[in-house]
Amino acid sequence: MSDKKPISSVNDFVVRFANVNGSGSASANEMFARAILRHGVPVSPRNIFPSNIQGLPTWYEVRVTEAGHLGARGGVDMMVAMNPQTWDKDVAGIEPGGYLFYDSTKPMPSTKFRDDITVIGVPLTAITNSTYTDPRQRQLFKNIIYLGALSALLEMDPKLIEQLIGEQYKGKEKLLSSNVHALHLGRDWALQNLKCPIGLRVRKSDKVGDRIFIEGNSAAALGAVYGGATVCAWYPITPSSSVAEAFTAHCKKYRHDPETGKAKYAIVQGEDELASIGIVIGASWNGARAFTATSGPGISLMTEFIGLSYFAEIPAVIMNIQRAGPSTGMPTRTQQCDIIACAYASHGDTKHVLLFPEDPAEAFEFAAAAFDLAERIQTTIFLMLDLDIGMNHRLCRPLKWDDAKQYDRGKVMTAEMLEEGRDFGRYLDVDGDGIPYRTYPGTHPTKGSYFTRGTSRDRYARYSEEGSVYADNMQRLVRKFETAQDLVPRPLQANAERPTKYGVIYFGSTSPAMDEAIGLLEARGHQLDRLRIRAFPFHSSVASFLAEHDFVYVVEQNRDSQLRQLIVNENGIDPVRLVPIVHYDGTPITARYIAKAIGDHQDHLKVTPLRKAVS
């Protein structure tokens, strides 16, 4: 008997599925999320999985949110507890008044439940064992059976789920009908034996609109296709592998010569990350658009080549899907922890361009733009995703492409230009923007060739160890980086309703949680102006934003507040005015967390004299 009133909520709750890795539950759980979308209700799902092939716990969380909040909320209203290993923790994580859904084939002692939650038992194993003889079928269809039971409990339209099953198994009639049958096994059992619906319900709405549901890695890979990447070299690493795999799939579909059937792309799985970035650099040096996808440990290995790319000024695109570090860290957990490692990768004085997409739509746009930027600036461009965007489906605006767009190949001197007598010096700053002209190998029989090297050289690419020549080159590289400020995506600012002396800076996957947190903070009486940084080098508006506010919170998902460090370093600002708000346990940051951290600090400011007021 519950001593807490069951939670009652329509289109606003969190369901978490606790499964065993390798049990085939992912497909059913994702179908649950998609089914809610088909009701016109936004969802925000997240995979929480171990770095293990089979046997360890895995969770899939679906936030049902008619309000459209796409960040993680925190808390669980309904736990679908299918993993005995994590039972106690799973039960403990349910919000008071929440629901526990479990396989009741074997009786459980009452001590395994809580008094303040509603327990819903469905004999899933008994149902599957009486229906199927094949062990694998029993396992797989058990997942569909609980999906069917949930559809009855949450008052979902079964036709919409059937439609999804039909799309998934199109052309495979046997699989289609058996899945629909399993769905109704669970649904019918629930309707006949349980009180349906419960307090959590899904009602049809119209809040999804034309938005799409896609993983960031897939969107980034598609961006590489649209951006004209023809060479991809990669080495498998979680959570980035699906970028290269998606690129391969997209290329197979869209990049073959219709007459010959030959591929207009080359994809090589390198022997390691060093070879992968080497192949990218070799291809880019030779005029192809090339990229690799990796994660933090891969960046560490690529660092030597990244320095070469910077100094020898060779375009390269690296998609870094960040995970929790350092070292092997937590391979399947999300963080934004490679900011400093990428911004200054390699020995010596180096600086690299970073792009921070907030969702799959921007991952697509920025990935495509990265190739233009790499060739325009002739340097490495990092697309900084993280696991939370890369490996989770997100609702986002539809991907868009302008057919009139031509690729910006940057400053490339052609044979005709050389014939005209244009002075070609590989490292000459002809236009004053720090960006020199380059030539592709094989351009001209007698003009335009040069030697690319990581050693110091003069403006005509001639080896030189003269101090003044070296310094001249390094200063030009600084100019080039300043030019990049106006080429990269600018920060986006959103001001509070009332004037305020407080601001908040954030970036990337923190975005949806931040958007929601602003509402929570306003409800608590705090007004904050927002600035979402989308690239490094920082545009001048970042410095302006800092100057306009007494205190600026910097919200990020790493221990050392790395973006804050970068802002301080690059803007020469008093660090005291930048307040770090960090979250780094490997789970996505939530609106509740941000609102509490900033709210508590703001409350503290109200009662404590400001530093500058007492100084």
């Binding site: 799409i212 023809t230 207009k264 792309y265 060093l274 070879a275 192949i279 094989g442 029989p445 040069y450």
Partner: protein, 351 residues
């Protein structure tokens, strides 16, 4: 100035090849290696081979890593693009360059430190992928730029200039290349230009991964008694399996050798290699036989040279990947981008 450019002057009477180029057109900057360095002899052989093949110099991309050998691309083919990358990573850079533009000729120059130590993995993987390249290792068994440490190709028991005995086993790059599936494998000696020039020419004509290990004595640190990579030692222990001539285009095949001792191999590009056998039993089409032959002679302390293995029907990485004939670096948006209508369909499939 910290570089030495070669004077532009050239004698008007210099002999020209089929394209009208002279030897000077295949030269580069003046070498800054030690006088007498074996690497300079290899440079001269590359120049000679390219001249004889009438290659357009600018159609060659010459790529190297770091080290004495990797400096040499600066000293030949001055009108071609060069890339002095990072230590041991030439093969990956070359692979990428080759993927971007299959129409150029790729010449990878490396050293024993570069390829047998830090770059051993990259060497192996570029070979097994069948990258269309000529991969030359200028092998002196020693680190010259850092003044005389053993490299991984130094023979066990050989002595350094300071008298230290090497206790590690040597890596035989030729044996490894054979095992990895290289479709053109040769070994030569920098002091044997007669053998080396046609080997380089044949390797350039070969479609696939060509590997040539050239024993190239280091005059400063590895040319003493006790070294197995010195001029004297290599001359005394060289066992050549064949001599060869490379015949390009429609030139008749020279068969002025004793009947039964000449074998002609036609390559993809139409060039023909006339192999004059010295060892009558040696078959350069037998990979396993070559491996056995090599091991047997190595055990006797002999350095086998010549064309050890060739597969005239080899395919390269582009064949494996089934890429278009048009160089990928020339494809523009209209050939690569699926366009907005396709994107609309993709969007629709994601709802």
């Amino acid at each position: 100035m910290t570089y030495i450019a070669k004077p532009k002057f050239s004698h008007p009477g210099l002999k020209k090849n089929d394209l009208g180029y002279t030897h000077r057109d295949y030269e580069g900057k003046i070498s800054t290696l030690c006088a007498g360095c074996g690497h300079d002899s290899i440079t001269a052989s590359i120049i000679e081979a390219c001249y004889e093949l009438s290659i357009e110099p600018h159609r060659v991309a010459k790529i190297s890593g770091i080290g004495c050998s990797s400096k040499t691309p600066d000293y030949f083919l001055g009108n071609s693009h060069g890339f002095n990358s990072v230590h041991g990573r030439m093969p990956s850079v070359l692979t990428g360059a080759n993927l971007a533009n299959r129409d150029l000729i790729y010449l990878g120059v490396s050293g024993d430190g570069d390829s047998a130590s830090i770059g051993f993995g990259q060497f192996a993987h570029s070979i097994r992928r069948g990258v269309n390249m000529t991969y030359i290792v200028e092998n002196n068994g020693v680190y010259g730029l850092t003044k005389g440490q053993f490299s991984a190709t130094a023979d066990r028991g050989s002595k350094s200039k300071k008298g230290v005995t090497n206790t590690d086993n040597a890596i035989d790059l030729v044996a490894i290349a054979l095992q990895l599936g290289a479709t053109f494998v040769a070994r030569s000696f920098s002091g044997d230009k007669t053998q080396l020039v046609p080997l380089i020419a044949a390797a350039i004509g070969h479609k696939g991964a060509s590997f040539i290990d050239v024993i190239s004595p280091c005059i400063a640190f590895n040319n003493h008694a006790g070294s197995t990579k010195s001029f004297d030692y290599v001359r005394e222990h060289n066992d050549a399996v064949n001599r060869l001539d490379v015949l390009v285009g429609r030139d008749p095949i020279a068969v002025d050798y004793a009947p039964g001792t000449v074998q002609v191999v036609e390559q993809h590009d139409g060039s023909k290699i006339a192999l004059r056998k010295i060892d009558a039993d040696y078959d350069p089409h037998d990979r396993l036989g070559a491996q056995t032959f090599l091991a047997r002679h190595a055990a006797k302390g002999q350095i086998v040279t010549g064309l050890l293995y060739v597969d005239p029907d080899a395919e390269d990485l582009h064949s494996h990947l089934n890429t278009v004939e048009t160089p990928l670096n020339t494809l523009e948006a209209d050939m690569l981008c699926p366009g907005s209508s396709v994107l609309d369909k993709i969007n629709a499939s994601l709802r």
